[in-house]
């Protein structure tokens, strides 16, 4: 974890996370497979997040779940998990660990700064704790996860520099 910026009511860290994108029907079988590998049950509703001490699982839509590791692993372990999932024909699992970048954003003024870059409605009544959203931040497709007092924002790694520069610019101006 790398601290990027920390000032005036905002703290930004860049994190390394492992992520697996899971696609499937979400039926009983699917639930079982996920549960077996992660001990997690599926989030009850769309855009909600469930977690235990090892994993975090976010429901992106009716056929997509993103699984995050809460602790660091060797890449091959993640790949092993991916191929375990993929051994079931009804699931598509893709490793998203290193093709994405992850920013952890906290601080009391985080909404203020982020709303310089996105129209997204961060008000607690619209974006409660343990929920997620996919939206545009600084013209970039991002996923945002609301974890207690923090947001995790991810985007494609090719856009890392642009994203950081925009964030810094929004803070400075």
């Amino acid at each position: 974890m790398k601290e990027l910026y920390s000032l005036r009511g905002l703290d930004v860290f860049q994190k390394d996370l492992h992520q697996i994108v899971l696609r499937g029907k979400g039926d009983e079988k699917f639930k079982e497979i996920i549960n077996k590998e992660t001990s997690l049950s599926l989030p009850p509703e769309n855009l909600k997040i469930t977690q235990n001490d090892k994993f975090l699982l976010a429901k992106h839509s009716f056929d997509q779940w993103n699984l995050f590791y809460l602790d660091r692993k060797e890449h091959k372990e993640v790949l092993k998990m991916v191929s375990t999932f993929n051994s079931h024909e009804e699931i598509l699992a893709s490793d998203y660990s290193y093709g994405q970048v992850y920013f952890e954003i906290s601080g009391k003024d985080k909404n203020y700064y982020l709303n310089k870059l996105t129209h997204f409605d961060f008000r607690i009544k619209k974006f409660p704790n343990l929920s997620m959203a996919q939206t545009l931040v600084a013209k970039i497709d991002c996923s945002i996860y609301h974890l207690n007092d923090k947001f995790i924002i991810t985007c494609n790694c090719s856009l890392e520099e642009y994203f950081k520069e925009r964030l810094l610019d929004a803070i400075n101006l």
């Binding site: 769309n46 855009l47 992106h60 839509s61 009716f62 997509q64 129209h119 619209k126 959203a133 996919q134 939206t135 545009l136 497709d141």
Partner: protein, 116 residues
């Protein structure tokens, strides 16, 4: 700028969506059976009504899911959005405040200001 209610993500700014034109146009199951004219209708011709329009949207910068909407193209008002597997709402359920094929409703059309 519209606000669109994605059936999966909720209300979001229009900039997150892309429009896919007329809804409920089914791709012919056996294109070879169609003559050239019928096939060209499927490829090139879509309804373009002024008033109530059943259309498709995709939440392209969000969940990437397609869904349908009923919108009044003479005011831009979105009356309803619904999932692909839901039945299209019945037209008569909506008040079509349209007067003529090419006339605007006075309110909200963008082309009127004064109430006579």
């Amino acid at each position: 700028m519209l606000i669109i209610n994605c059936p999966y993500c909720g209300e979001r700014d229009q900039s997150e969506f892309s429009n896919g034109g007329q809804a409920h146009v089914v791709r012919p199951s056996d294109p070879e059976k169609l003559n050239d004219k019928e096939w060209s209708e499927y490829v090139f011709v879509r309804s373009n009504p002024k008033g109530i329009f059943f259309e498709r949207w995709v939440h392209s910068h969000g969940c990437r899911k397609w869904f349908n909407a009923v919108r009044n193209t003479s005011t831009d008002e979105i009356i309803k959005t619904y999932k692909l597997n839901e039945k299209p709402p019945i037209l008569a359920e909506f008040t079509n405040n349209l007067k003529t094929p090419s006339g605007e409703p006075e309110l909200g059309s963008g082309n009127f200001t004064v109430k006579k």
